[in-house]
């Protein structure tokens, strides 16, 4: 281990492998992923669609859908090994120690029950309190996430509320637990900008005041820069770079991260949007060696032959690239990205 284990670490993921056994072959959705989350910190998990972010989150709470399987790895939450917990134990951890907010708030709410019913049910389940106490608590939580007129709204069904309102309900449900770990899987995708900012504020406020850790999944680097202390970059099931946000954004070492940041910056300066050339590889037939090599402007022969190892590239800054590790001697020029326009 490169970083010493310290008491601020809440979640420690070690060598996690989650595979899907499909008819086309084995999809290595999460491939040897390791990272730590600290208390009181929000960590962004970024990467293009299909890079394994959601499956990473599902693996932590052990809710990977068939034909997916956690093949290998350790997940330590607050000193407890989640991989060796029984399913019954996991049920008491989910919704208590770990809460999750989903990407599609309306789809994540049961259409046949009122939102008040759904929040208070989770509270009742957890606290073992009476129904009426739970209902009161649910209304309080709805008020806390700034849902106007919560008494009345508690009796509304999901289809009667806007997407933003539904997301607040999900946030209320997740935060009612005072979880040690909050996982938010693209919680603001599809919400308009103001609502998005409000939801982010809510999450930030609660995480900071409760001292919990938050894994914030997004493909929006702007949100990461604004919200997160640390960032993890995933590509094709692997973590390719991770570290403090300030460090990674000012000094990205992995070509993929550089590409992501370059394409974001171009949006900001209002030039034609450029993305990294090529597409995310077919999950069943991953490229040999460094999985990024078909799209990497700096790739050399070694990149096709040998997989790079994670190396330290600065304080708390880890990168998986042959150039960074010194196996390939070469300069990475920023112009490599600015030349590519689509």
């Amino acid at each position: 281990m490169i970083e010493a284990r310290n008491s601020d670490t809440l979640l420690d993921v070690l060598g996690l492998h989650t595979y899907f056994y499909t008819y086309e072959g084995v999809v290595k959705a999460v491939n040897s992923v390791s990272y730590k989350l600290n208390r009181g910190e929000i960590t962004g998990l970024v990467g293009e669609s299909g890079s394994g972010k959601s499956v990473t989150a599902q693996s932590i709470i052990r809710l990977v859908k068939a034909p997916g399987k956690i093949v290998e790895g350790e997940v330590w939450l607050d000193g407890q090994d989640l991989m060796s917990c029984s399913e019954t134990e996991m049920q008491t951890i989910r919704g208590r120690k770990i809460s999750m907010i989903f990407q599609e708030p309306r789809a994540a709410l049961n259409p046949l029950f009122t939102v008040g019913d759904q929040i208070s049910r989770v509270i009742q389940l957890r606290e073992g309190c009476s129904r009426s106490v739970a209902e009161t608590h649910a209304v309080e939580m709805m008020r806390a996430v700034e849902i106007a007129d919560p008494d009345r709204r508690a009796n509304a069904y999901p289809h009667e509320m806007s997407g933003g309102m539904c997301q607040r309900v999900m946030v209320a449900m997740a935060l009612s637990a005072n979880p040690l770990l909050l996982i938010a899987d693209e919680p603001t995708t599809g919400l308009d900008v103001t609502v998005q900012a409000q939801v982010l504020d809510l999450i930030r406020l609660r995480v900071k005041s409760a001292g919990s850790a938050c894994l914030f999944i997004t493909h929006d680097l702007g949100v990461v820069a604004e919200l997160c202390e640390r960032v993890i970059v995933m590509y094709a099931g692997r973590v390719v770079e991770q570290g403090p946000v300030a460090e990674i954004f000012s000094n990205p070492r992995h070509p993929y991260t550089q590409g992501l940041i370059a394409s974001t910056l171009r949006v900001d300066i209002d030039k034609p949007i450029s993305t990294i050339p090529g597409t995310v590889p077919d999950a069943v037939h991953l490229p040999s060696g460094c999985t990024f090599h078909p799209r990497c402007p700096f790739a050399e022969e070694l990149c096709q032959l040998e997989e790079p190892q994670m190396v330290e590239a600065g304080h708390g800054h880890l990168t998986r690239c042959h150039i960074v590790s010194g196996r390939i001697e070469r300069e990475m020029l920023e112009e490599a990205w600015t030349m590519e326009t689509a």
């Binding site: 709470i61 008491t92 919704g95 989903f102 994540a108 259409p111 046949l112 049910r121 389940l125």
Partner: protein, 337 residues
């Protein structure tokens, strides 16, 4: 309140539907070629006599007038007389319908009571032994024709094993039927405390019910399984799990209600069809229901009887769908009045 409003609205909507149905039924029997008067006359009837009968039957009037006369009669409960049984068609149908209703309703209840849990279990324990059993039953029910199944069950359960009585109708030959209250033997015998009639009619119900239930069970199980699987794979179930909801609650509280929605329409369809009587099964089990009545009426060209039967079947269909619509309204808040 909301519910009452919805029911009222649906009932109002039924009026044009039923009127449409009545027009269609009337047209079919009156537009068809052939003069029904010939059914009432012999070979040696004079044209004058034929004309007189035509007048007496009102068949000389314009078609729309005939329709309104007929509709008025129908609304008074007069479906005309059957020339075959020489009784009023309404009376005939009222006498026979309880037999069909009792058999099909019990059969449907049995297939729901078995099919829903079986479908749920085979979705929850996908690819386990219980899933395989349910797949076997499903395959049997879908691929075996009901008449063959009925005959097979009679052969095994009556002829070989003597578990059930012979297929001789609704009740034992030596047992007198219970006093008629509803016409449903099970209900009437229970209400009047006629234990002997109750056991005998229950025994006689068994074979036709088992046959019918096996046939309906198959698609219900299959639909329930696929519906449950779809719901279990949904985002809100994943979210409920992420909130620590235990499996039992996931299945029975979060998933089941949603999973019931899809098969409900199918059940209505099946029930609506069954209430029109099963010609095949009523025949095999000598069951005095309206399916057999319809068949016999068709064979002897008893127009009034056929028309009355079709009208009853259509009304029952509409009623079943009314009830199912109301159920949907109660279960699913997304449906607005």
């Amino acid at each position: 309140m909301r519910l009452l409003q919805y029911v009222a609205k649906r009932l109002l909507q039924l009026i044009p539907v039923l009127l449409g149905v009545s027009v269609i039924i009337f047209s079919i029997s009156h537009v068809l070629p052939g003069n029904p008067v010939y059914l009432f006359v012999g070979i040696d009837t004079t044209p004058e006599e034929i004309e007189a009968i035509t007048k007496r039957l009102g068949l000389d009037k314009p078609l729309h007038e005939q329709y309104f006369i007929w509709l008025g009669n129908v609304l008074r409960g007069d479906l005309g007389d059957s020339w075959f049984t020489s009784e009023s068609v309404a009376q005939d149908l009222i006498r026979r319908f309880p037999a069909t209703f009792e058999m099909t309703t019990v059969a449907l209840m049995v297939s729901i009571a078995l099919g829903v849990p079986l479908g749920v279990l085979s979705a929850v324990y996908r690819n386990s032994w219980i899933d395989n059993i349910s797949r076997g039953i499903t395959l049997l029910g879908v691929s075996v024709p009901s008449f063959w199944l009925g005959l097979l069950l009679i052969y095994v359960l009556f002829f070989l094993l003597r578990i059930f009585p012979p297929p001789s109708g609704r009740i034992g030959l030596l047992v007198s039927p219970p006093d008629r209250i509803t016409g449903l033997y099970l209900v009437d015998s229970l209400v009047t405390g006629n234990w002997k009639a109750f056991t005998s009619s229950a025994e006689h119900l068994a074979l036709p019910v088992i046959t019918q239930a096996l046939v309906t069970l198959a698609p219900i199980t299959r639909l329930m399984r696929s519906s449950m699987l779809e719901v279990l794979g949904s985002e809100y179930i994943q979210a409920a799990r992420a909130n620590g909801v235990p499996d039992r609650q996931i299945y029975f509280r979060d998933a089941l209600r949603n999973a019931l929605l899809a098969p409900l329409t199918f059940v209505a369809l099946v029930y609506g069809n069954l209430l029109g009587g099963s010609v095949v099964l009523e025949r095999i089990f000598s069951w005095p229901g309206i399916g057999r009545y319809a068949l016999e009426s068709i064979v002897v060209k008893d127009y009034n009887a056929v028309q009355g039967f079709v009208l009853l079947a259509a009304v029952l269909y509409v009623l079943v769908f009314l009830i199912v619509d109301i159920l949907y309204f109660v279960i699913d808040p997304r449906i607005t009045a």
